[in-house]
């Protein structure tokens, strides 16, 4: 039974984008159409309702509105609407009302998508058609919209009343107050300091403090709370996203986070609140890393990592969240291994700081990465006396990481390499040499060192080093020019006509490496700008914020860069999640034929952004350099 809808096909045939379809495709489409009639004045689509179809106006006129109610567009015979909502999250973005009696042909979503995949010109139409901001922007923000962790703010899930106690109260009073209020923590305030703009927050006491610092130590419950409270308080604004709270807790391994509103405490967010909100397994994974007591146990534990990664991808986390969570997990493995190393080899003879470098430092780590790390040693370090200890520790950590799935670094950028175990002054000298000499050649493989983060020990030295680098490189034209030149070494895989340039042979034939040709060159570009404006940030998105604020980039280019980075990263992440699920080896080589036409198009746009960012970089830093 083949029922050809001659009228419908005949009408579609006269209107773009359907006019480009073959007769066969046209008739197939016409048979899937649903028809609906709306009298003038009636609502066709309401904001945020689920959207199932692409609408083609057969006869009549409609108006589309912004969310605010402001008129957005007026459409009539042959025009289409609903495409933006369909491309994004299948919800109505622009409400639609019939202003004349209107007959619409509705093309079901599956059909629409299928045709976009099958017919290039069909897909093209909906993209060139899209309004002012780029589709990439929309794709990125739509993904953002869909996600709970990125949209739910801390104030949205703060169930607890603020419970405070003065610093002169006794421990017993604090315990009684906590019991009476059914809370697991209490904030300590200093009454005498308390003023209109200063709440005098001086500490926090948790259940764990009562156990570990009172009962276990036999402290008299009558003594004052300031004896046992933690006075190093990490707070978060109530306007922050739940995701930021999660990261902060993970990073500092704390279970209670005082929430402030314009600096004033308004409540405490407990880890249990977060877990209840999102059974975020990355939190659980990190917590238990610290309970593992041997490399064997850590190794077994690390096997959960792929599942955690896949789950986050499925929950539609964005690349920043996934990158941060993976970095926190990687960092936790290092921290635990260092703890175990110190148990085995004894306490360090001199202070030191274990550094994470590259993607882990930038919070942009994906599932597996090379273990790029280094050590900063106290200036009192003597090779002959202390060298053996740190070599042992470095080897212990490095082997342990390899056991947990983090491959040794090919370039030997690891603390096991004596070259990368230096004193603090040694490191500063080294950075000085890099920055002052600034030959592109010398800097070729040093990018990774400009993204550093303290993981263990004297982490303040990492900040010190970062400040040192920032200070030296800001406004240093020659250095920036060399860095800029190196940032142009890796080009995005786009040809002259905006076609993908694929690997021509070898194991990865017909694929493109999204890290080497996408995220890495972008991070390189962003790093140069960040150094130029003296940003202390390490994460590329945060660096971009600083760069944008400094007004270094032309209007709108900053957002383009961050959208491009997000998009390429998320395609790369999804690719890896798919590989994990099908038990393939995880890599960065994506075959365009495996992507949907939307991803292909968005990727091309993103690569275009990389390409023009590189051109801008060349222009911005390479012109006017004094010739030597």
């Amino acid at each position: 039974m083949h029922a050809e809808q001659l009228e419908i096909a005949g009408f579609l045939e006269k209107n773009p984008p359907f006019d480009e379809l073959s007769q066969e495709a046209l008739h197939e489409l016409a048979q899937q159409v649903e028809v609906a009639y709306y009298r003038a004045g009636s609502d066709i689509l309401n904001f945020a309702e689920p959207l199932q179809d692409l609408y083609v106006i057969r006869r009549g006129a409609v108006e589309t509105y912004r969310r605010t109610g402001e008129l957005y567009n007026r459409l009539s015979d042959g025009d289409v609407f609903g495409q933006m909502g369909l491309l994004m999250n299948q919800r109505v973005r622009f409400p639609v009302k019939a202003i004349e009696d209107t007959l619409v042909y509705c093309i079901p979503f599956e059909q629409f998508r299928d045709y976009c995949d099958r017919y290039e010109t069909f897909a093209d139409y909906f993209e060139s058609e899209s309004e002012s901001s780029s589709l990439l922007r929309k794709a990125v923000s739509a993904q953002h919209d869909n996600n709970d962790l990125t949209t739910v703010k801390v104030k949205g899930l703060m169930p607890r009343e603020l419970v405070t106690i003065t610093n002169r109260a006794s421990i017993r009073e604090a315990a009684e107050l906590m019991t009476a209020n059914h809370v697991s923590s209490v904030l300590v305030v200093n009454q005498s300091q308390r003023e209109a703009d200063d709440p005098g927050l001086v500490g926090i006491i948790t259940d764990r403090d009562l156990r570990e610092r009172v009962l276990a130590c036999g402290i008299d419950p009558a003594s004052s709370v300031d004896q046992i409270m933690s006075s190093r308080i990490i707070t978060l604004d109530d306007n922050a996203y739940v995701f930021e709270a999660m990261l902060l807790m993970l990073r500092h391994n704390i279970h209670h986070l005082p929430i402030v509103q314009r600096q004033k405490p308004v409540g405490v967010l407990a880890l249990s609140d977060l877990i209840r909100h999102e059974s975020q397994s990355s939190i659980l994974l990190v917590r238990s890393i610290f309970k593992m007591s041997s490399i064997e146990e850590l190794k077994a534990h690390a096997r959960q990592l792929p599942a955690v990664f896949v789950r986050m991808v499925k929950e539609d986390a964005n690349s920043h969240m996934i990158g941060s969570a993976m970095a926190v997990i990687g960092r936790s493995f290092k921290q635990r291994l260092l703890e175990l190393a110190e148990q085995q080899f004894g306490p360090p003879p001199v202070d030191y700081c274990f550094l994470a470098l590259g993607s882990m430092a930038r919070d942009e780590q994906l599932i597996y990465t090379d273990q790029d790390n280094a050590m900063v040693l106290d200036d009192s370090y003597r090779e002959e006396e202390h060298g053996g200890y740190f070599e042992q520790v470095a080897k212990f950590v490095s082997d342990g990481l390899a056991d947990c799935g983090y491959a040794y670094c090919d370039g030997e950028v690891m603390a096991t390499n004596p070259k990368w175990r230096m004193t603090l002054s040694g490191w500063k000298q080294h950075f000085s040499d890099w920055i002052d000499e600034a030959s592109p050649q010398a800097l070729l493989n040093s990018n990774i060192f400009f993204d550093l983060d303290g993981v263990w020990g004297r982490t303040d030295w990492a900040i010190d080093l970062r400040r040192f680098i920032t200070h030296k490189s800001k406004n240093n034209r020659k250095f920036l020019a060399s860095m800029a030149r190196n940032a142009l070494n890796r080009k995005p895989p786009l040809g002259f006509f905006k076609e993908f340039v694929l690997e021509k042979d070898g194991q990865h034939k017909d694929s493109m490496n999204l890290k080497r040709r996408g995220t890495a060159p972008l991070s390189d570009v962003i790093r140069v700008h960040a150094l130029a404006v003296g940003s202390m940030a390490v994460n590329s998105f945060e660096r971009l914020d600083d760069v944008i604020e400094a007004g270094l980039l032309p209007e709108g280019k900053g957002t383009d860069l961050s959208d491009a980075l997000e998009y390429i990263s998320i395609v790369r992440i999804r690719h890896q999640a798919k590989q994990i699920e099908s038990r393939e080896t995880v890599d960065n080589n994506v075959h365009p034929i495996h992507l949907t036409s939307f991803d292909r198009r968005n990727l091309k746009e993103a690569f275009q952004v990389v390409s023009s960012a590189q051109s801008f970089l060349k222009y911005r830093y390479n012109s006017n350099i004094p010739m030597k």
Partner: protein
């Protein structure tokens, strides 16, 4: 052929007991297919239009007289007040027992060679009955579809078929009649055009090429959606409209 006269015959008081009547017909009828059709039942007259499953049907025929003429093609489009479902629609060419006349070929464009390849209605009858089971038929000028289908079944199965219909022409006629001036009504002047295309124009519906059974069925479904939007509501009970 379904090119219809401008004045429909006066409607008798419509029956309201269709569900009971179908139960009775299901017991009485001999033919297996017909039994299944009646046993599939019919929604009751107090069902709101928005909840009523509908199917628009149109025939092209060899002439106007059901006693001598026969069906040439059938178009079916299932729908509801909200949506018309093209993907479930059907279109059949069938071989009439009465030869095609030059005149009818001119109107619906179906030729002798088209017909020679077509099956007898009996071959597609089961599919046709299945497609309309449980749905209320919607037609434009009910006498054609009702009488021709009844006659065709009588000839092939020895039993006729009865069913409730919503007639978009009858609705339009009544609506226009109500709006007519008193003088016109007293002089029994016919209201404006009642052809499918004429009716559609009044609701801003596009011009469709007439006399293709599937297109006409689609056109009829759209017309009913428009008529309800204008003159009734989603909650209007089916019983007010069926005949």
């Amino acid at each position: 052929m379904s090119d219809t006269p401008n004045t429909p015959p006066p409607a008798k008081a419509p029956r309201q007991d269709w569900p009971e009547y179908f139960d009775q017909l299901a017991l009485q009828c001999q033919n297996h297919w017909l039994h299944r059709y009646y046993a599939g039942g019919v929604v009751s007259g107090d069902t709101a239009m928005i909840n009523t499953p509908l199917v628009a049907m149109d025939f092209e025929t060899t002439g106007m007289n059901a006693a001598v003429d026969d069906i040439v093609s059938i178009g079916l489009v299932p729908f509801s007040l909200r949506r018309i479902f093209c993907r479930e629609s059907a279109h059949w060419l069938v071989k009439p027992r009465q030869a095609l006349t030059e005149g009818s070929v001119l109107i619906h464009g179906i030729t002798h060679s088209d017909i020679n390849a077509a099956p007898d209605l009996e071959v597609i009858l089961e599919a046709l009955l299945t497609a309309i089971t449980g749905r209320i038929l919607v037609v434009h000028y009910r006498h054609i579809e009702r009488q021709f289908l009844a006659q065709a079944l009588l000839e092939r199965l020895g039993e006729a078929i009865t069913f409730p219909v919503i007639d978009t022409m009858a609705i339009e006629h009544t609506v226009l009649r109500r709006r007519q001036g008193l003088v016109d009504r007293m002089l029994k002047r016919s209201p404006r055009g009642l052809r499918l295309g004429d009716c559609r124009e009044r609701y801003g519906l596009p011009h469709y090429h007439a006399h293709h059974a599937l297109t006409d069925a689609l056109a009829t479904a759209e017309l009913l959606q428009a008529q309800i939007a204008y003159h009734f509501s989603e909650d209007t009970p089916l019983g007010e409209l069926w005949l």
